[in-house]
């Protein structure tokens, strides 16, 4: 088992327009990306559980070219509206960091 924070090179969030937030996980090592993808741990259901949104509202896309996973979901509050805590949406990635993926890490 390995945590996302230990195997990914990028794990980030940002607005995708004022009503959505998009979360990306990127791997420098394309083989490792393929292993992670094959486990199926990263999927729309995972993001729905981590963020308490409906799975149907999660747009989940693996992007092989970039060795990346992207999930886009509705924000809790539109950017800048009353009660928003993160106008740029740049600090909503943390719950993903500790997600464990069953991959075997080769010493690098």
């Amino acid at each position: 088992m390995a945590r996302i924070r230990d195997i990914a090179q990028v794990c980030k969030s940002k607005n995708a327009g004022p009503f959505m937030v998009t979360i990306d996980v990127l791997f420098e090592d394309h083989d490792l990306y393929r292993q992670v993808k094959a486990t199926g741990v990263l999927n729309a259901g995972l993001f729905a559980r981590l963020y308490g949104v409906n799975e149907a509202d999660v747009l989940f896309t693996p992007y092989d070219t970039a060795a990346a996973f992207k999930a886009t979901l509705p924000r809790l509050v539109p950017a800048g509206d009353i009660g928003d805590t993160d106008v740029y949406g740049a600090q909503q990635h943390a719950p993903l960091l500790d997600v464990e993926v069953p991959v075997n890490l080769q010493p690098r």
Binding site: V10, A16, P18, T22, D24, A68, T72, P78, I82, P95
Partner: protein, 453 residues
């Protein structure tokens, strides 16, 4: 033409870049230079207030170097989403700055302003013709929403920008524009195919972001028939496949489908190849023309007036019962506000607790507080500024002095770092319009105005 070269100076005009980068980039003979001037990312306030989120001093510095370089090289200089939000005050402030620089530096050039602020009557007519539809699960656009809006802009495609070039402009200040449009426009006008031209725009829209170390700076793109090449002029930076991949995901809901005014950029079959240790070739992008041409509308409305205060506690007894304390505080504030004539319907109070869930609110999975101190921002949004100020003042004093079980710190519960403690933030705006409209053509919503500077 089989190669078109473009230089983008920074992530946002006013975020800065190294002067040396521009000198090196200009030595690579770009056909056009430019910079994106704005974004909705800083939130709805800037579109509503007509102000920019960048400072006049830093924008003037970035613009001055670009205008000098463009005039010396006799190439166009294009600014997208002028003034941060692209509304009329934002466009006019940027134009005034350009005129001021030209006067100070003895520069002259033909300039075009492309307006993007939309008048309400014409938008209401479009709604009544059924020419609008909502994005992001908003309700359909209606007359009342348009009438309530403080300011509405349309997001132009590349066509008005290309037309301004056709009409002889060298410096173009676009109002709200799709981020890649200011780059797709000159490239396609020079005869380059749509797919690499649009992709070039995606790589150029945030300056040096597709490079490491990531910092606002220049990026240079070569557009060729079936690929682009991306390289930062600054020798301390490198474009790598990972940096390009990271940026390819930036601020879009999908990494493979990018919707633009006239069609769709499909990047699902893209390949990123390092062609040196600091430049990347990107190929495989495709462009699909849309069945109908659409323009995105962005509008904001006033949601009230805001006042805030900042404070913190270092008291472990209070931290141990903070949820209960804050709910008692809320009741006390409501009762006291009612006593001076302000009912709960006239304001909203939000208390943000840093050290607990100040960053993620309802999305915070960690329920245990481990911090030895907690920071608070108390916020009141009122129907008027007076109401916000009055309720916030009461919320501040209640937060400082309210009793709680086991209280030892009987002189005050909070450390306030500032005097004055209460910060009036003025009107609060919210995004109310995020819809698309089908115009009669790509130009009619974006009048072009030429002047000799």
């Amino acid at each position: 033409m089989n190669e078109y070269r473009m230089l983008s100076t920074s992530g946002i005009l006013g975020y800065g870049y190294a002067e040396e980068s521009l000198r090196i980039g200009m030595s690579w003979n770009p056909h056009v230079i430019g910079c994106d001037g704005g974004s909705t990312d800083p939130g709805p306030y800037y579109l509503g207030s007509g102000k920019s989120f960048t400072s006049r001093l830093s924008v003037k510095r970035d613009l001055r170097l670009m205008l000098q370089a463009a005039v010396a090289a006799k190439i166009p200089c294009i600014i997208g989403t002028s003034g941060g939000s692209g509304g009329e005050p934002h466009l006019q402030d940027t134009a005034a700055l350009v005129r001021e620089i030209a006067r100070e530096d003895g520069l002259s050039f033909p300039m075009a302003l492309i307006h993007s602020e939309q008048d309400k009557a014409s938008l209401i007519a479009r709604v009544e013709r059924g020419a609008t539809r909502p994005l992001a699960k908003l309700p359909p656009l209606d007359r009342a929403t348009i009438e309530r809006a403080e300011r509405i802009v349309g997001m132009m495609g590349p066509e008005p920008i290309a037309r301004a070039l056709d009409q002889g402009a060298q410096v173009i200040l676009a109002g709200r524009s799709s981020d890649p449009a200011q780059w797709a426009a000159p490239a396609m006008r020079a005869g380059m195919p749509a797919a690499p031209s649009w992709y070039a725009g995606k790589m150029l829209e945030c300056g040096a972001e597709p490079s490491v170390p990531k910092e606002p700076d220049n990026i240079f793109v070569w557009v060729r028939d079936d690929h682009i090449v991306c390289e930062p002029p600054n020798p301390i930076r490198r474009s790598t496949p990972l940096a390009v991949a990271n940026f390819a995901l930036h601020e879009n809901s999908s990494p493979i489908h990018h919707t633009e005014p006239g069609g769709l950029l499909d990047t699902s079959e893209c390949r990123f190849e390092a062609i040196s240790d600091r430049s990347v070739k990107i190929s495989g992008m495709t462009w699909l023309d849309a069945a109908e041409y659409t323009i995105k509308l962005e509008g904001v409305e006033r949601a009230g007036y805001r006042t805030i205060t900042i404070c913190g506690t270092r008291d472990p007894v209070l931290i141990g019962q903070i949820d209960d304390y804050l709910s008692v505080h809320r009741e006390k504030v409501a009762a006291k506000a009612a006593s001076f004539g302000v009912p709960p319907s006239d304001y909203t109070m939000v208390v943000r607790t840093y050290g607990k869930d100040g960053v993620m609110a309802g999305w915070e999975p960690e329920r245990t507080i481990r911090a030895h101190e907690l920071g608070f921002i108390i916020e009141v949004v009122g129907k008027t500024q007076d109401i916000a100020n009055a309720v916030l003042a009461m919320a501040r004093t209640s937060m400082l002095h309210a009793d709680f079980p086991g209280r030892l710190c009987r002189e005050g519960n909070m450390a306030f770092p500032f005097s004055p403690s209460d910060i009036e933030m003025g009107p609060l705006f919210r995004f109310s319009i995020f819809h698309v409209v089908t115009p009669n053509d790509p130009f009619e919503m974006f009048p072009i105005e030429h002047e000799a500077v």
